[in-house]
């Protein structure tokens, strides 16, 4: 299952970096980080969506949030999400609101897909227990 993430390019090598950080002290580090990420990203995505429809539009604010989202997505290795966000931001900076909105929806979709796929993955890890974790390919 894990390999599929990479095959589909949903996750990139940065995710592997996170996995490498796991150790005895932080056995569930990856899951913790991802949880933190989704908690924030969900809020941010909602904010962006709201702001994009707001009148008057606060361009810089949306840009800032997009930037932050880009950074955190990149940090966890959420490849597709990051790419879509980057595209969204570019369009937004160019003033192409409609284009940005459309791309943003794509980003949101990728984000939700990732979340949906990771949940069972982590569950599987937890169930497997430490042994499985130890055997998990790095």
């Amino acid at each position: 299952m894990r390999q599929s993430f990479f095959d589909e390019e949903i996750l990139d090598r940065q995710f592997i970096q996170l996995e490498k950080l796991e150790d005895r002290e932080n056995p569930n580090f990856v899951e913790e980080v991802l949880t933190l990420y989704f908690r924030d990203s969900t809020t941010l995505l909602a904010t962006i969506e709201r702001e994009m429809e707001n009148v008057p539009i606060d361009f810089p604010k949306v840009d800032r949030i997009l930037h932050q989202l880009k950074g955190s997505s990149a940090s966890i290795g959420a490849n597709k999400v990051r790419n879509e966000i980057t595209k969204t931001r570019e369009l937004w900076q160019q003033g192409n609101r409609e284009g940005a909105k459309a791309t943003f929806q794509e980003a949101r979709k990728e984000h939700d897909t990732l979340k949906a796929k990771l949940e069972p993955y982590f569950q599987q890890l937890r169930q497997a227990g430490p042994a499985e974790t130890a055997m998990r390919p790095r």
Binding site: Q14, Q17, L18, K20, L21, D23, N26, F29, E32, V33, L36, Y37, D40, R64, H67, Q68, K70, G71, S72, A74, S75, I76, G77
Partner: protein, 678 residues
């Protein structure tokens, strides 16, 4: 000893040429490196923290810039390096970078998901020592220690250049010669170093014969020349090369000018609310400190008068400070005076300091300031935040140069004293240093501070004289905070405690500076007066700007202006017998502590030196000073500014056995002790 640190692994003792003594980097280094990471994104923060922990660093995380700043201020020597995100809600990352550079002179790494050239350039111009693109990989973090070491090394070198390190004297002498004669090398070296991608650090080191860069002391005169050149070219068009040409000062390198310019730009920017420079930031050219140059003592007053002075003084200070790193042009003290001029708020000084890198250098420069306005109004010293450093430097430089005219001497003395004593308020806060000078008007500086200054000025070691008048100035403010007033005998500056000091605290940084280095250069302000009375504590009103050391007679109060830094030094000198002064300056912990309180500066000095932090800083300054003042200022004190790293350095230094000797010098925290002709 030119074993370049860069050579490859710090771990090898030999590689750290910078540390003369023993150049032994602790084996466990860089483990234990104290990193402060600032990012408003909790996900990134968590990941970074884990990565850094994996690298065996000691990590403190923070999600707000303001919190980070106050953490840094409270614990000036508690961190070795800072990693900060560029985009943060409460404060711009670059602004934070500037603050840190100016106040604490710590290496700062910027990071962002933004990899646009423009943003990266901004990082460079603001003085970041590196720029990481998110997502950050652990490999990138593994090497951040190099920035810390590099900074130490620079400081150390600067210190050496100042030449009066007792221990390191030998080496320094060599380097000194080399330094002065090889300012060109230094320039080259510096420029290369300046490039963040200093991949050839070692190579460069090799180039400069002794790796020691002669520190340029941005005396008032020199600074004036600088400002004139910049004005002639136009602030936006002023490039170091052209400025250098216009100035036509032998021995001055482009690097020196560049760093000075950068500081100056920062200074001006601050004055005008950042309206100007932002763009012209040339890689280190920050505001032209033109005004600084004029600070030469006499001008300081004028400068003080114009709010600009502070900026200028800063500039000067910066110059001085810058000079430290870059080259110390003998410009001694003239700048020092200027520093005093800088009485303008210390924050300005910070600018100079902003450039972290420079700041180190500035420390030296600040010494310059000391010399300045001794007569001047203590206020001016404020500007000198560098002064602390520079003063140390300046003093050193100055003295070496023959102490510029008697004025300098006197100033230097005053300054020097503060510097040396103050341990060089070098702290980046620099601004402080000048103060001492101005207020001190009295030869007091000669006392410990003179160390910094004295070196330059050879100030009649009177330094012990009345509390450093120079310090009186703002420096008192600055400096005092420095040393945590802890030691100062009598009261001298309980620097923080003293009322005047309050201002210092504001300086926040100064304290740090002060602690670190006794900022002797700048600010010894009023505290020194105290010293005279020593131990009189004169409740030093050191208030930075005009902290008139009420406590003491006029002398001290000289204008404690902001630069309490000097105070530190002053204090030191004053015979603060208690090594306290040093301690104060040194807050840096290491050394001073013992020193100052001990009252035996000499003892402390060494102790301090060992502390390393200061060593580097002070060493440079003090060392130089040593020659001159010798009396107390163990150059080490002078360097206090740098010492953000001091801790680190000290640790390193400590580790290095060999370093011990050198360290002594550096530790000038106490250095004043030695010098302090009690």
């Amino acid at each position: 000893m030119n074993s370049n640190i860069g050579k490859g692994s710090m771990s090898t003792a030999s590689s750290s040429a910078a540390w003369k003594a023993g150049d032994v980097v602790p084996d466990r280094f860089p483990a234990g490196l104290r990193v402060l990471v600032v990012d408003d994104d909790p996900t990134c923060l968590m990941i970074l923290e884990k990565m850094l922990r994996t690298c065996l660093y000691e990590v403190t995380k923070c999600n707000r810039a303001e919190t980070a700043l106050s953490m840094l201020r409270e614990n000036k020597n508690g961190f070795d390096i800072v990693i900060s995100d560029v985009h943060m809600p409460d404060m711009d990352g670059f602004k934070l970078l500037e603050h840190i550079g100016l106040e604490m002179d710590l290496p700062v790494i910027m990071m962002s998901a933004d990899d646009g050239k423009h943003v990266v350039m901004k990082g460079v111009t603001h003085g970041a020592c590196d720029y990481l693109i998110k997502p950050v990989r652990i490999e990138a973090l593994k090497n951040i220690w190099q920035h810390v070491v590099r900074k130490w090394k620079n400081e150390w070198k600067d210190f050496e250049q100042s030449g009066s390190v007792e221990e390191g004297d030998r080496q320094q002498k060599q380097s000194e010669d080399a330094d002065y004669s090889s300012s060109a090398n230094e320039g080259n070296w510096k420029s290369s170093k300046k490039r963040k991608d200093d991949e050839d650090e070692t190579d460069e080191r090799d180039d400069s014969s002794t790796l020691k860069k002669p520190r340029v002391v941005w005396s008032v005169e020199l600074h004036q020349q600088f400002v004139a050149a910049v004005n002639q070219l136009g602030i936006d068009k002023a490039v170091p090369k052209k400025i250098l040409e216009l100035m036509n000062v032998p021995g001055l390198t482009r690097e020196n000018v560049a760093s000075h310019l950068q500081k100056y730009r920062l200074y001006l920017r601050r004055l005008s609310g950042v309206s100007q420079h932002q763009n012209s930031f040339m890689s280190h050219q920050e505001e032209t400190f033109g005004p600084l140059s004029s600070l030469n003592g006499l001008d300081l007053q004028t400068l003080a008068a114009t709010g600009q002075l502070p900026a200028e003084s800063l500039a000067t200070l910066q110059a001085a400070g810058l000079g430290r790193s870059t080259a110390k042009s003998g410009v001694p003290m003239a700048l020092v005076d200027q520093r005093n001029i800088f009485s303008f708020e210390n924050p300005k000084l910070r600018f100079g300091e902003g450039q972290q890198q420079h700041i180190n250098g500035n420390n030296k420069q600040i010494n310059l300031l000391h010399g300045i306005p001794m007569t001047m109004e203590p206020k001016q010293l404020v500007g000198l935040h560098h002064t602390a450093q520079s003063i140390g430097n300046v003093n050193m430089q100055v003295t070496s140069h023959g102490a510029q005219s008697g004025q300098n001497n006197s100033l230097l003395m005053q300054m020097g004293q503060p510097q040396s004593r103050g341990h060089i308020l070098n702290d980046a806060t620099v601004g402080h240093a000048p103060r001492l000078l101005s207020s001190m008007g009295q030869p007091i500086l000669s006392n410990g501070i003179a160390a910094n200054v004295s070196t330059r000025n050879r100030i009649p070691e009177n330094i012990r004289a009345p509390g450093y008048n120079p310090v009186s100035q703002a420096s008192s403010m600055l400096n005092f905070p420095m040393n945590h007033a802890s030691e100062l005998p009598g009261n001298i500056l309980p620097l923080g405690s003293t009322p005047g000091m309050s201002s210092l605290t504001s300086k926040g940084t100064f304290q740090e500076d002060v602690n670190s280095e006794i900022k002797g250069s700048g600010g010894f302000m009023p505290s020194y007066d105290i010293f005279n009375d020593l131990n009189q504590h004169k409740p030093q009103s050191w208030e930075l700007q005009n902290v008139s050391m009420t406590s003491d007679a006029s002398q001290r109060s000289n204008s404690l202006q902001g630069n309490l830094d000097l105070t530190q030094s002053v204090l030191v000198q004053q015979g603060i017998s208690s090594g306290q002064m040093n301690g104060q300056n040194r807050s840096a912990a290491v050394v001073s502590k013992a020193m100052c309180s001990a009252g035996d500066f000499s003892e402390q000095r060494n102790a301090q030196n060992v502390n390393q932090h200061f060593n580097t800083l002070l060493v440079d300054n003090t060392i130089r000073v040593k020659s001159e003042i010798v009396a107390d200022v163990s150059p080490a004190n002078l360097f206090p500014d740098h010492f953000g790293q001091e801790d680190l350095m000290s640790a390193l230094l400590k580790q290095q056995e060999g370093i011990a000797p050198a360290e002594n010098e550096f530790d000038f925290d106490g250095y004043s002790m030695d010098n302090i002709p009690e």
